[in-house]
Symmetry: C3
Subunit: 423 residues, 3 copies
């Protein structure tokens, strides 16, 4: 049961013959596939084989008490099995087969319940297992080559938890992942603290949650990435302290100042504030919690709050630096603001132009199978049947062996999935 | 100061020559007599003499600080004295006579306050005491023969507290008592864990709060009670574990399956959900917190929630089994739903047909005194004078020595009581 | 860093050659000068010289984390410097000059930030410092002779904290100070527990927060103060216990009964209740939390709550005793009720008749400088320019060397101050 936050995953998996993780998530109305996506996108970068096993995941309701028992709606168990496969998993195993009759995990319920009899969940498990018997060979060992990465810094997360700026989540990696996920931009998650994980040459767009703790070297690699034509979307407090978590005794953001195109000397806690009209295009035009008083040198101000005092400084800027751009968000943006700022950068690089036509609850995931064919998963994370036009080149629907034609309508059942193989 | 929940009352009172308890309750707007009723209805079943003493109860405001000082409104102290007597108490003693001038109980105020002078509360105490001088002999040693019992299981309460399904009260005995009390159905409260307390032959209706821990034997006694013509209203999780709190490895509800007329394999936490239209007739047609997915064999579904997924199974059923009925509530019902489901069972047995014409804040309590005469208490738990038609055969009003005629209007003063003796 | 509540300040400062304190307060929208005023009004009565040093106060944002960073708006740092001087401070020193780069106080930010460069706050500090170079000699060693005092009792505060009557603040000294401050009545704060601090001969009006613990001697001094023509506004629970915190075994309020003109035997916690119409004139006509059931002997009832039970007793009374009056508030009044009750007493003594024409956010503070001239500070605690007519005799504006004429309009900039010297 690895935690993504507290363990040195790079080091841990170096010693494992075959990487394996346990992933638990929310079912029923909260089922959205996001935490499964996050887990897989992280695992791929730290696993040597690029693929991995799921050794535990939800069957029926879970928990160390009888509270918060949320067994899956019809379809959800099987949908999650395919969500794991779409992220690179090669096996999905449940905790556990049957259910204990006493002790701490009495209500951590398995495929079978206390009665040991076949049940609704068992029958759904059975259906998925039979499908995999038939098509599993076309799904396993999926490979991906993503153009986008999130730089995940354990050190920054720990330092921010130690010296927090909010009562809520200090390190907004999930917020950034969510903004990508819901607009169907696939990404890798790079644990960036180690020098061997700092090769960005594969990517066109980097998302940087508050990179509070960083070596000069890492910050310069990010600057160089921009200079050489890359796009970066970066959150507040990045570059503020050095590798030992000592604040840099220079104008912030230190080694990032040139790529960012501004300096700042001050910041403030803020309540939720509205931005002055701007051309970012977010429906929720607010920021909250924290604001840096940015003083642009070469950066273009994108937004400033509508406030007598705080409005004197921009809080979101975009800097053309060399051949690329660095978008800096010196505040906690609304989810929609972050989405739109990422789209803006993705547009400049033509990233996921097809996929971004669809949005959550329709989620698209793709990869290449062992035969070298493209595999496309289309998930419907809702209780309504959804009809969309098939967005990919002509394919074969693996679950029902039908033809899928580019632009032709397909219906995806509630909590369902369609899997296409291009060939 | 016995706790009803943490102490083995049956065993404790076996060793006492004369049973005695301390009861504290809410005064002012919260005064409703319910906790006094509960305490007395419990004490009668564990006391050998069927009567008991109150050795401590509220005088003025109470507490281990100066917070939550709620001294009685005019009339309330005397009303509570009669409430105790109406439940079978033979004495009411206050904690305490005077009030301490320092220490933990500085604000646990007695009949006299810190000044040691007669006061408003003293004068009310004095009034009640003088009345008892005159009529006490007709009130003490009251006997009751109730047709309804609540089965109270210490073991179930502790097991549910240990493996909870909610943040709120795990064991809904008070909720069940409240539903009886407010519609004027008198009951006994049976601590049912010991075999010697499992004789139900006196009763026509049993209310069963989640009987989570139970021997097969107890469950079969309840089944037999139904088969022989009894009415049972039972809450979720009953029968789920055995006497050692191990979940039964069979289809739930185990030994109760036949009497219940259903089995179930699954359950879920739920938010507050509305029921589909049904003929239970509750104004608050909602359930919350917990729902079992009942699969009827012989039971008749009474209600199912209005929800795509959860609505596939009934959550309240009624099963004719032998000559009786078992009403099962596989969810946490609204207070009004529970009230109506109890009425439904009470109607089939013509229980409290007279008394149920009145409702809280008018509360009726009856019994038989030492002369073999029926004694009827009519309480008004409100700040408004209430006028009702006297519901009992012609009687003598003990407090003012007037005649009370069946069907004739009587006025009960705010926080007042009328006591009739049939003769 | 002295606490006003936990330390025996009288004793502590007896041993200091020159009294000095550290005062931290809220900036940005919360800046109102009140806590600075309170601190200074307290320090003057315990300092031997009548003047004192501020050895620490806010520069930029403060805190032991990066949360709640609220650096000053433009003008606020300088405004607070003058607020300290207006209360009798002879020096204002900041914590601290520069800002630490690691450790607990990384975000307890000084005049200079982590970059060590001049910044916005530094420039404002510089402006104030240059002004003091010029006019400081006319401002230091300010003396005041106030006609109003708040009697602060450490012992009562601790006893109420130990045996609380509310979840909120037990000891309403700040509430009373606030009511004075916002209507521009200057006062001293007397730590009244020691006999040597019980000389009230200088004063015309005493405000008494719940004087729960007191010697008979102190209570008689307060009674004598009234008898000799003084005005007292006193809160509930005063006089209830003796010097050892034992409740007096007599009719409350014990030795105060004659001056108060009532006794009481009972009290109750209350929710927020509305008063019956009365002539106190408060817009918020409510009381809350606590109510004593006052039984007047000579006192005139000023207000009673609108409630069947509690309305039987007044909860606010006014007693003419000898040549003075004692206003007793046997409940927690709304802020506006307290304000109006204080005004009522102040009117009888013609206290602050000029100053009370102005209200917060315009705050007036006055004193006499070393040359024997009157110094008047006029603060604007808002983000709007305020124009008022100058309320004092013709003066010289020290900051811009202009003439200030009685009744002539002057504009005070946002978070600004005007300082006039009569001469």
């Amino acid at each position: 049961m690895p935690s993504f936050y507290d363990i040195d995953q790079v080091e841990a998996f170096r010693q494992m013959e075959y990487p394996a993780i346990n992933v638990y998530y929310t079912m029923q109305n909260g089922q959205d596939g996001m935490w499964i996506g996050y887990s897989c996108d992280y695992m791929r970068t730290v696993s040597k084989s690029h693929n991995f096993l799921i050794t535990e995941t939800n069957a029926q309701g879970t928990g160390w008490s009888s509270q918060n028992q949320w067994p899956p709606y019809d379809g959800q168990l099987r949908q999650n099995m395919y969500a794991f496969l779409s992220g690179g998993a090669n096996m999905v195993e449940y905790w556990h087969w049957s259910t204990l009759h006493y002790g701490q995990e009495t209500y951590w319920r398995g495929i079978l319940g206390h009665d040991g009899q076949p049940n609704r969940v068992y029958r759904e498990f059975q259906k998925g297992a039979k499908e995999l018997d038939k098509i599993g060979g076309q799904l396993v060992n999926l490979k991906k080559t993503n153009r986008v990465a999130i730089l995940f810094s354990h050190d920054s997360k720990h330092a921010l938890d130690y010296m927090p700026y909010t009562d809520n989540d200090q390190y907004k990696v999930n917020m950034m992942y969510d903004a990508l996920y819901r607009q169907n931009i696939e990404c890798d998650i790079l644990p960036v603290d180690k020098p061997e994980m700092q090769d960005f040459s594969q990517y066109d767009l980097l998302l940087v949650p508050s990179l509070y703790v960083a070596t000069d070297d890492l910050l310069l690699k990010i600057s160089d990435f921009v200079k050489n034509g890359g796009e970066v979307v970066m959150l507040f407090k990045s570059g503020y302290t050095d590798y030992d978590n000592a604040v840099r005794p220079v104008l912030a953001p230190g080694p990032l100042a040139e790529a960012c195109g501004f300096t700042y000397q001050e910041y403030s806690s803020i309540n939720t504030l509205t931005l002055k009209p701007n051309d970012i295009g977010a429906s929720d035009n607010t920021v909250n919690t924290w604001m840096e008083f940015l003083i642009p040198t070469t950066a273009k101000p994108l937004a400033a709050v509508d406030h007598k005092f705080f409005g004197k400084w921009p809080c979101i800027t975009e800097n053309q630096y060399g051949k690329g751009h660095l978008t800096y968000i010196g505040t906690v943006p609304s989810a929609d603001l972050l989405w739109k700022l990422i789209s803006r950068a993705a547009n400049r690089k033509n990233i996921a132009t097809v996929e971004r036509k669809y949005q959550y609850p329709i989620i698209l995931r793709s990869g290449t199978n062992m035969s070298g064919h493209k595999i496309h998963y289309i998930f419907n994370y809702s209780y309504e049947t959804k009809t969309i036009s098939y967005p990919f080149p002509d394919s074969r629907s693996l679950l029902d062996d039908q033809k899928l034609s580019l632009g032709k309508d397909i219906a995806i059942e509630p909590w369902g999935v369609v899997i296409g193989e291009e060939k």
